[in-house]
Structure formats: C-alpha cells, structure tokens
C-alpha cells in the first residue's frame, strides 16, 4: 500500500487513465515530442546548409589572402568579425562567442529556477527566472546588432559578378559570397532567433504566474520544468548553429 504522502507527490504526473506512462506527466512527454519534431526541422535546415555549402567551391588559399567573392563559399570567421563599438577592428567570432556564453548562462539560471520550483521556493523561482529572462533578452539584442551589421555590410563592399560594388546583404544578393550564403544566414539564425523570442515570451508567462502566486496555489512548479525544457532546447540548437554556421 502506498502512503498518502507519495500519492500526493505523484498526483501531478498521473494521466487521465490514472497511470503515468514512462513516469512523466502528460505535459512533459508532449513537450519532449514537440521538441523532437522541432529538432527535425532544425536538422533539415542545418543539413540543407551543408548541402548548399558543399555544392559550391571552397576557398583554398591562405586565410590572410581571403577576399569576398561570389566564386566560392566564404570563410565564416572572416565574415563574422565585428564587435559593437570596435569598428574596423578584426575580432573573428568574438561577438558570437559572447552570445554563446550568454545563452549557456541563461540555460544555467533556468535549471536553477527548476530546482527552486521542485523545493516550492517561490522567491528562488522568481529570482532565477528573472535572470533567465535577462539572458534571453540580452541574446536577442546581440542578434539584432549582428543582423543589422550583416545587412549593412563592410565599408569596402565587394564586387558582384556583373562588376557592380555591393554593400551588405539581402535575400538575393550579398557581398560576402554566393547569394545562398546570406539567405541561409537569415533563415537559420532567424528561425532560431524566433525560437528564442518565443522562449522569452513563455519565460515571462511562467515568471508572471510565479510572481502572482498562481503556481504556488497549483501546488507544484511543473510549468517551470516544461518551459525549461523548451529553453534548454533553444540553447541546444544554438550549440549546433554555432558549430555549423560559424566554426566549420
């Protein structure tokens, strides 16, 4: 016979049929399945990047001789080398590295919010959710700067195949390399950025519910765990985007 205490502990995990398949609640399992489908979407986008990249010639000179050209795929560390307030200084991948750490740290504060929720510690949940929100907003701001820099382009610009000089990038033309390079940049980082934006919205929603005491009255902080899964997934995807778009 199970004791009353255990029954209350497990109640939130029970499904309509009175059992708890795979020992997780319905909401958490469905969040996992949603994330699995989302993982397929991101995989397809990143693999498409690989397909298009490897169907273009690669730049095969020394990295110091690299110039932007439509003839070959650009080397990412030469494209992404700008940092705010340091115009003209060559700092390859520094800014995107900073963005990576911001997102990892906001994942850590999220996991601490989940831990506080498991202990019914309302103050802890509020504190860590606030840090997580700040991390998400900081990441989005960095990405906004990154996009505007990419769209505006460099001072020199580069020569397109028809001989004209072009600065920056849009969906059909860019100074950095083959047209698809910019299109993929907008599509992949944009789709990820929209996930971060949705994550910030969800984080704010559960933060609001924690602050107003709604989650405390429910008797558990499982909502934090479910939104937390989504937030960690956003971080997980960024780890892959960082590798395949910026490092490789």
């Amino acid at each position: 016979m199970s004791s009353t205490a255990i029954e209350i502990e497990d109640k939130k995990d029970l499904w309509g049929g009175g059992v708890s398949p795979m020992n997780v609640s319905y909401g958490k399992l469905m969040m996992w399945f949603f994330l699995l489908s989302d993982a397929f979407t991101f995989s397809a986008l990143l693999i498409t990047y690989g397909l298009i990249r490897f169907s273009h010639p690669a730049f095969d000179g020394a990295i110091d001789d690299f110039v932007f050209s439509q003839e070959y795929w650009p080397v990412p560390e030469v494209v992404f080398e700008a940092v705010p307030f340091l115009h003209g200084v060559h700092l390859p991948l520094i800014f995107v590295g900073l963005m990576t750490f911001v997102l990892i740290l906001s994942s850590v504060t999220m996991v601490l919010a989940v831990e506080a929720g498991e202990r019914m510690d309302r103050k802890g949940v509020e504190k860590w959710m606030l840090w997580t929100l700040l991390g998400g907003i900081a990441f989005l701001s960095c990405q906004a700067w990154e996009w505007s820099h990419f769209i505006t382009g460099t001072d020199m610009g580069s020569k397109l195949l028809d001989g004209s000089i072009f600065h920056g990038a849009n969906l059909t033309m860019n100074e950095y390399g083959p047209p698809n390079f910019a299109a993929l940049f907008f599509f992949i980082t944009g789709f990820h950025g929209f996930h971060v934006f949705s994550g910030v919205m969800l984080n704010f929603m559960v933060f609001f519910q924690a602050v107003t005491g709604k989650l405390e009255r429910t008797g558990h902080y499982e909502m934090i765990e479910k939104v937390g899964l989504y937030w960690h997934f956003v971080d997980l995807v960024w780890v892959f985007v960082f590798t395949f778009f910026y490092l490789v």
Binding site: S55, I104, R119, E216, T243, L247
Partner: protein, 108 residues
C-alpha cells in the same frame, strides 16, 4: 483558506546545484577549446577541424540533454523514444552530403 496553509520550502539540494555548476564549467571549457582549435589548426586540415568540432558539439549536446533537460535520469523507454528517431537525421545528413558532391561534380 489556501493562503493559511504554510508552504513547505525544502532546503537547497547542494549536490544537484554542484552538478549543474560542474556541467556549466564543462560547457565553458569545451567552447573555449573549440575557439582554440578554430585559430590554431590551419584551414588546410579541413576534415580534421570538422571532425573535432562535430565531436565536441555532440559532447556539449550530451551534457545539455542529459543534465539540464534531465533526460539522463528519465526512464529508458523515454530516452529511447527521443534518441532513436534522431537516427533519421544521420540518414538525411548522409544522403544530402552525397547529393552535394554530385551537384558540385555536375556544375564545376
């Protein structure tokens, strides 16, 4: 009334928090190491670089999924139902990289 019932706040699980901080340290160190590889291994060793980057990314993904997303501590059936379908990703990667080479050969 609900608000009269005292909320039983449990003490911080120190081991758990320590484990999170340890995972954070791993993720930090691996990312710094990736930067080091990006600027020390020359671009001529393209496939060596790609292999190291992909391997380290998978290590990072393992830590995020296993500890942050708690998947490492779930039931085996749940682990399998999430990880097994991801084999399709490997399959798509395999066929599309072959296709990329075919397009490259046809165009250039």
């Amino acid at each position: 009334m609900q608000q009269n019932t005292p909320i039983d706040v449990k003490p911080i699980d120190k081991d758990k928090v320590k484990m999170f901080l340890r995972v954070t340290l791993y993720l930090f160190v691996i990312t710094v190491f990736e930067f080091a590889i990006a600027f020390t291994v020359p671009h001529e060793y393209k496939w060596v670089r790609i292999f190291i980057f992909v391997a380290l990314t998978i290590v990072k993904a393992y830590y995020i999924m296993s500890e942050f997303m708690h998947l490492g501590h779930e039931k085996g059936a749940l682990k399998m139902s999430i990880l097994f379908p991801l084999l399709f990703v490997a399959f798509l990667l395999f066929i599309l990289l072959f296709q990329a080479d075919a397009i490259f050969q046809a165009v250039y």
